[in-house]
Amino acid sequence: MPDTPLTTPAGADRAAPPAPARPPRAGSRRRAAGILALVLGFAALVLAFALALSVGSRPLPAEEVWRALTGGAASSDARLVVLELRLPRSTIALVAGLALGLAGALAQSLTRNPLADTGILGLNSGASFLIALSVMVFGVSSPFWRLPFAFIGTLGVAVGIFLIGGTGATRSSIARVTLAGMAIGAVLSGIVTALTLINPAAYSVLRAWNAASLEGRTWGELLPALPFVLIGAVLAMTLGASFNSLSLGEDLARSLGVDVGRVRVLALVAVTLLAGSATAIAGPIVFVGLMIPHLARAIVGPDVRWIMALTAVLSPVLVLAADVLGRVLLPNGEVPVGLVTAFLGAPVLIAIARRRHLVAAS
């Protein structure tokens, strides 16, 4: 037993087949589906945002929300609820969703691992761990100084996972990476738990944030992260074409003029900025980067640029919807948004594992 490989099941280490060799520009039908999906996705985003502003322990009708937003004749507490409480938290949900979705899509392109997600790879835990350390050891309290710690934590885990998993998209490497991400996440959050139990003052600071709950978030937490999310998102969008070439194979991509090393480094930078920022502003929210890129691929096909665009629109819808759900699932209080996405995302993970051929979404 000691010498049996951990993750190589009997006769199962078939390499995942290469992505279907559809050309990146796959005809007008795909493009029409993509445009339609983007339009519908955008409508869903507006709807989800509107719901996020009106649903809660004090439900507000749409007109009331609108009057509060536009400075019309709304009651003062409606204005307070909408402008001071729900608008910042919903905007954070939107930004965090966008960042997590794009980070997941990038991670899948980078590793060719269909199960890559900021949660599954343990990136969220890496960021959380260093943020917890920054609070407890260095007494960091400003949202801005959380960010560099989040980036270092994300990058550290990403590099570690990459070393453990290697680059091949074989079933054994996928299983190894998934397990390593889970184990690293468990270890890091175990240490955070132990540290918070020892240090009760830090416990109260970290508890709300670590539960991935968006309750009580303010603009001050969001603003410092915005530039980094923006840079990451722009990088993600511009890398799409290179990843299309890379899906044909490294050699072919090189002959098409893609600098493979540069693309990988930029993608790693973008994943770090996006996943780190999202964790810093919203806490560890899992599975968004797994679900949405696979959904996007199912709609628009294998063109990474379209997958990125659709992921950017649909991921915020998911996080906003999960946040709204979290507010109505309990008679008193809220279910943290991270719990809702974990519950929704796990079946997707199972469904992907049950497929015969494993293909990354992007």
Partner: protein, 345 residues
């Protein structure tokens, strides 16, 4: 549950094992080490006792206060750590043997979380007491086992799919458990979440006695299926030709493995990674060709007691033992994965 014989990996029987003498010596060393650690643990605390004093107090009925400290205050917790460690480790060995995969252990493939779900449901929704929680844990574990195995099954149980499905089910159940705890009334949620992190802090004499009886009964039953299980490890066809009823053996192994986990969860909450690591460490220590059940039990007992000592004394203020096993077991798992990654490169 069996893959076609042709696709099965060459069985462990072909891995060169150590000699029988080495295994006997190894078991004796494990036994002595565990006993020594237990004596040491009984001496630790606000009123420290030397190993000699501990043994004297335990044997001498007239030792008075020291006897009370050792037998009444400290023994229940030490005994529970040993019993639950052994139960988890044997359960891990059973499932790892059945799935033919070191990672097919109940804490990875979701059975532990499922047992916890069952216990929480019994406590918070049905308002049951601790007996009800134990029954709930058993049913929850069995239901989860059924769901995980059904979702994994596709012309056999493939290790990759089992692990990923298990991780998914674990993630879902963990979210569900936290929602249930949030939903429950405060005081019930408190009692359910006290052992939520996996803790031996509430050890009582009664709990130790109940767990002790349960673990002993289950281990005797495990011993009864261990011979046919060994045959099964050599392959289905060979086992069948020796008159083993493979289906019946597999079902009883699943039942016993889940029952051991459920007992552990109902007593102390979900304690991660003991079931995963103990059989692996035992197999390495004993150079055993298969997974050694007795060796796993002793290793698990030693590990959990050691982890509980760390949890109580190494961290100021103390932490739940589940936190310690999670951190140490997780590091062990990562090391295993790194070593395997090196091999494939």
């Amino acid at each position: 549950m069996s893959a076609p014989a042709a696709t099965r990996r060459p069985r462990r029987a072909q891995v060169p094992g150590g000699s029988r003498a080495r295994r006997v010596v190894g078991l004796l060393v494990l036994l002595l080490a565990t006993a020594a650690l237990a004596v040491f643990a009984l001496g630790l605390g606000d009123y420290p006792l030397s190993p000699g004093e501990v043994i004297g107090a335990a044997l001498d009925p007239g030792a008075g206060f020291k006897r009370t400290i050792v037998l009444e205050w400290r023994l229940p917790r030490v005994a529970l750590a040993l019993l639950i460690g052994a139960a988890l480790a044997v359960s891990g060995a059973l499932f790892q043997s059945l799935t033919d995969n070191p990672l097919g252990s109940p804490d990875i493939i979701g059975f532990t979380s499922g047992s916890y779900t069952g216990a929480i449901l019994a406590l918070t929704v049905l308002g049951a007491g601790l007996d009800g929680a134990a029954l709930g844990a058993l049913l929850g574990g069995l239901a989860t086992a059924g769901v995980v195995l059904a979702l994994t099954y596709r012309r056999g149980i493939e290790g990759f799919r089992l692990i990923i499905v298990g991780i998914g089910v674990t993630a879902m159940l963990t979210a569900l458990n936290q929602w249930l705890l949030l939903r429950a009334q405060e005081e019930v949620a408190m009692s359910a979440s006290i052992w939520g992190a996996g803790s031996l802090a509430n050890s009582s004499r009664e709990a130790a006695l109940t767990a002790g009886v349960g673990v002993v009964v289950l281990l005797v039953l495990v011993a009864a299926v261990s011979a046919p299980l060994r045959q099964l490890e050599l392959g289905d066809d060979l086992a069948r030709s020796h008159g083993v009823r493979t289906g019946a053996v597999r079902i009883s192994v699943v039942l016993l493995g889940v029952a051991l986990v459920a007992l552990a969860v109902a007593t102390s909450g979900p304690i991660a990674f003991v079931a995963l690591t103990a059989p692996q460490i035992a197999a390495r220590l004993l150079r055993s060709p298969g997974l050694p059940l007795t060796g796993s039990a002793l290793t698990g007992a030693f590990l959990l007691l050691g982890a509980d000592l760390l949890a109580q004394h190494a961290v100021p203020g103390g932490v739940p033992v589940g936190t310690v096993t999670t951190v140490l077991g997780g590091v062990y798992l990562v090391t295993l994965l790194i070593r395997e990654a090196r091999k494939t490169w």
